[in-house]
Structure formats: C-alpha cells, structure tokens
Symmetry: C2
Subunit: 145 residues, 2 copies
C-alpha cells in the first residue's frame, strides 16, 4: 500500500518539490512583470538580448521555443516601447538582427536584478543548506548543458 503513488526516489521527490516551489512563486513573477509592465515572453526575450550583442529573429524564436510568426509580434511590442530595435544584417538582406537599445539595456538590468532575487523560501534557508542546494544544482546542470 503506497501513500499516493508518487515520489519514490529522491530525484523524483526533489523534482516534485521544485515544481511546488515554482508554482508557489507564480504570483511573485507576475508581480515583477507588472512592475515593469512586461509580459512573461517579453521578459524572456529581453533576458536573451545581452547588451552589445545581436540576435536574428530566427535565433530568438528558437530560444523562446515558439514559432517564428509569434516573434514578429513580441519584437513589435518591445520595439514599440523603444526597448529593442531591428537592424539589417550585413550579408543576408532577409534576416533582421535584434538588439536592445540603450534604454532597453537599462530596463533589462533592473529587471534582471529583481528576477535574480531568490524567493523567501530560499532566502530564509540557512547558508549551509543554500550551499548544498547550489552545489547539487551546479552538478546537475554541468552534466546536461
């Protein structure tokens, strides 16, 4: 007789806890988005555009894991607010390179700083536990990426 049929091994248990942590953090993410008046996808796109670099629309679509046709609208709205801009590519006149504007870079930096703040559940954890968490995650991501 199992209890609820889930979470047998420590890996699954850890994963279930991470999902819970993220679901409970949804309001916080939404609130940060409202602070900057940016939708989740706009945040995601801005995050990908490091100042001083350019990305073609196609690369943006791939990183955002959505169809290229959606990127047109996402870029339109960010460009409409002066946060990013479309530039022509030197070799191929079909492609458009996307880059943050100076204003966009400022917004991006403040936004990234807010997003980087760990949620209360993590921040309140004793340093030893934070380190254990960090080390295990570092190991996990080192192997996959």
């Amino acid at each position: 007789m199992s209890t609820d049929g889930l979470a047998q091994d420590p890996g699954s248990e850890a994963w279930a806890l991470m999902v819970r942590l993220f679901l409970s953090g949804r309001p916080r993410i939404a609130a940060i988005g409202q602070e900057f008046d940016l939708s989740p996808m706009q945040i995601h796109a801005l995050r990908l555009l490091e100042p001083g670099t350019e990305l073609p629309m196609s690369a943006l679509a791939e990183s955002l894991v959505c169809d290229a046709s959606n990127v047109t609208g996402i870029v339109d709205r960010l460009e409409g607010r002066g946060l990013i801009e479309r530039r022509g590519a030197p070799r191929d006149r079909r492609v458009k390179m996307i880059a943050v504007t100076r204003r966009g870079a400022g917004v991006r930096e403040r936004l990234m700083k807010r997003m980087a703040e760990p949620p209360p559940a993590i921040a309140a954890l004793p340093r030893a536990d934070q380190r254990a968490l960090r080390d295990a995650l570092q190991k996990a991501l080192a192997s996959s990426s």
Copy 2:
C-alpha cells in the same frame, strides 16, 4: 572586479540555477501538454482537482492565481471534453462545485505521472546529490508553506 554582477551569495546562486533548469525544461513541459492536448492552465486546473473532492470556482480561481472570469472559460473547455463537471452546491445556489469525471481522473493520473518524471539533469544525478537536493528543498518549503 566582479564577473557578471550577479550571484554573490549561495542562495542567489541556487536560485539562478533553478531558473536555468526550469527555462531549459520548457520544451519538455510543452511537449507533455501536447501529448494530452492540454494547455498549461488546463494542466494546472486538472492537477488541483483530486478525484473524490470538489472545489468551488472561486477556490479554483484563487489557486490558479487568475481572475474568476478566466476560470469560466478554462472550466468550459475542460468540461466540453468531459474531463470535469460542474455540480450545484447544497447550501448556496450561487456557487458551482467542480470535480473531475471518471474519464478526467484517468487522464489526470497519466498526466501527473508524466509531469512527475524528473528531467534528465536531475535523473542523472548521483543518489547522494538527489537526496541533498531533496532535503534542502524540503526544508525550504517546510518553513514557507
């Protein structure tokens, strides 16, 4: 001279790694949704409706962290597919209780099982690290919830 201005303390570093893990896992979540032809919010709603229990629309709205007006549509679509049903409440004829149907319970169980599978990065981790991860997360969530 700092490296990139972020991730000073272990808590922030751990959080940044978790965000990375979740962002890299987006395609996987999207793929699971497609398998079942369910949108993220439909998945979330189905997850909340444990078989044998009922929830009023208002409770669903609160748990989904969205306006009550949205729940009407989300419930409409799940009900249209026969996965959940609206029932009258005994005392107050204004409220509608939501519950999974027998078919919905079957879909829900298969769905939850797929979602519970940890991503490769976690699954490939040595058991000792999985346990360290689980224990730290357990501690974090115990204090906040």
